[in-house]
């Protein structure tokens, strides 16, 4: 009988080449970092159970889960709004993995493990907003899209979950985006093309920002 070994691999394993890309001779205007090895659970209220879900989420995370397009940080997870009565739980190390959350939400929500179904890309740098403006129709100016704002949207005809996390130590805004694994490579190349003129710094990381 065939032996299968299931090894989690990044959907950007081939496309992502660590180092510089695009314009040379300037400091990188855009940093693209793929975050690898995370737990991501989609939580959706069952019919008529939105209030129960809100209560269960508060018990589990100690904060009100987002009921508007926001991302809420708790010490060991980020709760990202993804639509009415639903949100994503992004975490690491199994703390809020499927088997943990399925107990917490057994009475109120349907859960779906998206850990290996999405790629997580973090975009930052002085020209990050200029690059994203080529692809997204959203206004990402700090006045319209402050830290903690989230959006379910489409860039380059690809559905993404976008949210602005905490700023980098140098004060630059950080835009995180989750994209379906099978669309990740396509979106990656599109972003590289859009960012090339600003000079790009490419990396991957195991750490959730």
């Amino acid at each position: 009988m065939a032996e299968f070994s299931w090894i989690a691999r990044s959907p950007l394993e081939k496309a992502l080449v660590v180092g510089g890309y695009g314009a040379r001779g300037t400091t990188a205007g855009v940093s693209l970092t793929e975050i690898r090895n995370f737990d991501l659970i989609q939580v959706m209220a069952r019919r008529g159970k939105a209030a129960e879900l809100a209560k269960a989420a508060e018990t589990r995370f100690g904060v009100t889960a987002p009921n508007a397009p926001n991302a809420v940080r708790v010490p060991d997870a980020t709760l990202i709004w993804s639509g009415p009565d639903q949100f994503l739980v992004l975490s690491k190390g199994g703390i809020h993995a499927m088997e943990k959350l399925s107990q917490a939400f057994s009475q109120s929500a349907s859960l779906s493990d998206q850990s290996h179904a999405r790629a997580l890309i973090s975009v930052s740098g002085g020209k990050a907003r200029s690059m994203l403006a080529k692809l997204s129709s959203l206004d990402l100016h700090p006045a319209a899209f402050p830290a903690g704002t989230a959006a379910a949207t489409a860039v380059d005809h690809t559905s993404i979950n976008l949210w602005r996390g905490s700023d980098r130590p140098d004060g630059q805004a950080v835009f995180n985006l989750l994209v379906f694994a099978t669309f990740a490579e396509s979106l990656w190349h599109t972003m590289l093309d859009a960012a090339a003129e600003y000079s790009v710094e490419i990396s991957h990381s195991e750490a959730l920002a």
Binding site: G83, P84, D85, A152, A154, H157, S159
Partner: protein, 91 residues
């Protein structure tokens, strides 16, 4: 044309898919063949205010009921379609 999704806010048309007339109601079980035929195939070609279903597939994936003037594209109201989870819109 832009649609103000009650959950996501103002978004470009490209994020939405059009379904059509939100008025047509499924006939009761036991309805005549003519009534079912009407429901499945016959559509009014409205020139003016119309109630329509739109799907925010490039966003929150909610179905919306949009009142739109087909002559001017003026949108007078957008609300969650029946069955969409949250009763309260986010914005």
């Amino acid at each position: 044309m832009r649609i103000v999704c009650p959950f996501c806010g103002e978004r470009e048309l490209g994020e939405f898919t059009y379904l059509g007339d939100a008025k047509s109601a499924r006939p009761a079980a036991g309805a005549s063949e003519d009534e079912v035929f009407d429901y499945v195939y016959m559509r009014d070609n409205v020139a003016g205010p119309m109630s329509e279903y739109w799907y925010h597939g490039g966003g929150c994936r909610a179905w919306l009921k949009v009142a739109r003037n087909t002559l001017t594209h003026e949108i007078s109201s957008v609300e969650p379609a029946a069955g969409v989870g949250a009763k309260q819109a986010a914005r």
